[in-house]
């Protein structure tokens, strides 16, 4: 097997005080286990990508973090306190769990104005965040029933940013955003983290978050299957090799004692340095069309191996899409 299972890469050792701590979190609904013994933490100044197929337990974990669900066991804390014990939660943690969960009859500005009253921030702040997310002017005066999903996501981000929080918890914020919008959101989250903020965002699409995340936490079937810094997870995981005759290539690598697993499309992933792979292939006289260090394929392969059992294959395809 290409990766051990379950794998845990310890990232950022030595940073003492995590802002978000999920500790042995388990959530059961009757006999069904939605989240099982999930633990990870998020440091200030970083973006954590929480990645997994639909139904893997991402939303349940995030709902437990912000007090909307009660864990069966384990804890989820912000700066050492349960969310429900925070004095004014919205001023400390900006939350966007479902952009569709807003009253269709209210205008964008009205939604923000209501939240601003609760948070105790002025109307100027409402204008500021509307400008920040690109909804100032006419869009702010439209009712949400007339908003596209992308506009709702922007409004949800505006709501999350309204209280000028130190922490952002976002569930699938890129859903419905166009490529330009996703690029914009990455910049916004990167800037937030670079100023000392802590970001935890989930996605079922690897490419949406790999560009912005410092740390990746991968969940499948309610369990953490991999976590660590993006570099650790994505880099140095063998060599991708491709040739006109896949079977011949496979035999050549087997003969050299190099472990091989299926790669993306018709490629193979060899668990060895490029030099060793090249030597093995040359010795066998096999033709190559591609030979390079495996990059994102490492993580893709991880998904395939860890979540690729029967029934979840389609979900894995979604993650890798």
């Amino acid at each position: 097997m290409y990766y051990s299972r379950p794998m845990r890469v310890t990232g950022r050792v030595g940073q003492a005080h995590p802002m978000i701590t999920i500790d042995h979190l388990t959530k059961r609904y009757g006999a069904q286990v939605a989240v099982s013994d999930v633990s990870f933490s998020c440091q200030p100044g970083t973006v954590t990508g929480f990645l997994g197929p639909n139904g893997a337990g991402k939303s349940t974990t995030l709902r437990s973090l912000v007090g909307l669900a009660t864990p069966t066991s384990g804890t989820a804390t912000i700066a050492g306190r349960r969310y429900t014990d925070l004095p004014n939660a919205g001023r400390q943690v900006g939350v966007l769990l479902d952009a569709g969960a807003q009253h269709a009859g209210r205008t964008g500005r009205e939604v923000l104005s209501l939240s601003a009253m609760v948070l105790g921030v002025g109307p100027q702040r409402v204008d500021d965040v509307l400008t920040l997310v690109g909804l100032a002017g006419r869009p702010a005066a439209k009712r949400l029933g007339n908003y596209s999903l992308g506009m709702r996501q922007r409004l949800g981000l505006a709501t999350a940013l309204l209280g000028d929080p130190q922490v952002l918890v976002l569930d699938e914020p890129a859903n419905g955003l166009d490529p330009e919008g996703i690029f914009w959101m990455r910049g916004l989250l990167r800037g937030f983290a670079d100023r000392g903020g802590t970001v935890l965002l989930s996605s079922h699409l690897l490419h949406e978050i790999e560009a912005v995340a410092d740390q990746l936490v991968v969940i499948a079937g309610g369990r953490i299957v991999a976590q660590g810094s993006k570099q650790e997870l994505l880099a140095g995981r063998g060599t991708l090799v491709r040739g006109p005759d896949r079977a011949l290539l496979h035999r050549a690598l087997d003969a050299a004692g190099i472990p091989v697993s299926p790669g993306p499309e018709d490629a193979l992933l060899a668990d060895a340095e490029a030099l060793a792979v090249g030597q093995a292939v040359a010795a066998a006289g096999v033709v190559l069309t591609e030979l390079r260090p495996a990059g994102g394929e490492g993580l893709e392969e991880l998904f395939r191996s860890l979540t690729g059992s029967a029934g979840t294959g389609q979900q894995v395809q979604e993650v890798l899409a």
Partner: protein, 261 residues
Amino acid sequence: MSTSTLPVDQPRPVTGVTPPSLLTLVRVELRKSYDTRAGRWLLVTIGLAALAVVAISLFVDDAPKTFADYFSFTQLPVGILLPVLGILLVTSEWSQRTAMTTFTLVPRRSRVLTAKVLAAAVLGVLGVLAAAVASGLATVLTPVFTDQPMDWSLSAAQAGQVLLVQVVYVLSGVAFGMLLLSSPLAIVTYFVLPTVFTIVVNLVSALDWVRDWLDLGTVTQPMFEGELDGQGWAQLATSAALWIVLPMVIGWLRIERSEIA
């Protein structure tokens, strides 16, 4: 797009921020009751219905023409429609799924629910005030359109009991909303269940005691004239326990414990 317009200080302590006051939360809930088209039209309809009722009693010859009479009549549309606003105050959070935002901003759910109960009571008082304005208008116009003089007399008992009965009705709506968490289900149940209850307890003579002690409609009838007496207060308490306290307690506990999704 630039993110530089958002000043985020360097790591700040997660302390020193005060939670929103109950008064703030009540103001937020009141605003939620009229900032949607449904809410605004319901309020406008209540006002128009009150005006329609006084217009009818003004122009129907044998209807009594004092302020107290107008005031009593106008309570009918207010008492029917205002509880719907109380129901929506709770159920729209679930029907429109805004509960997610509401309870992440204020994770202590009982504070939100308390604010909703207080906001509903305020709406009840405002409904009575609207009825009083419509009644005042009709009283002023009485000498113009009829041969009767203006009669402004209103007993303190009637004013007080009318205020109380409207608050009781709107809180009953809130309680049904909390119990059922669905706008259509709560509205239908709120109107059908007490009506069926009233019909049944009036048909079966063996159930007279139920009618006298547990039927909110029967028990509150004298309050519109300010005529609730000693035993009536006790009967109001037992009926309110069945139609307000019981559904509200069950619904409240469920909301406190349930998962918001």
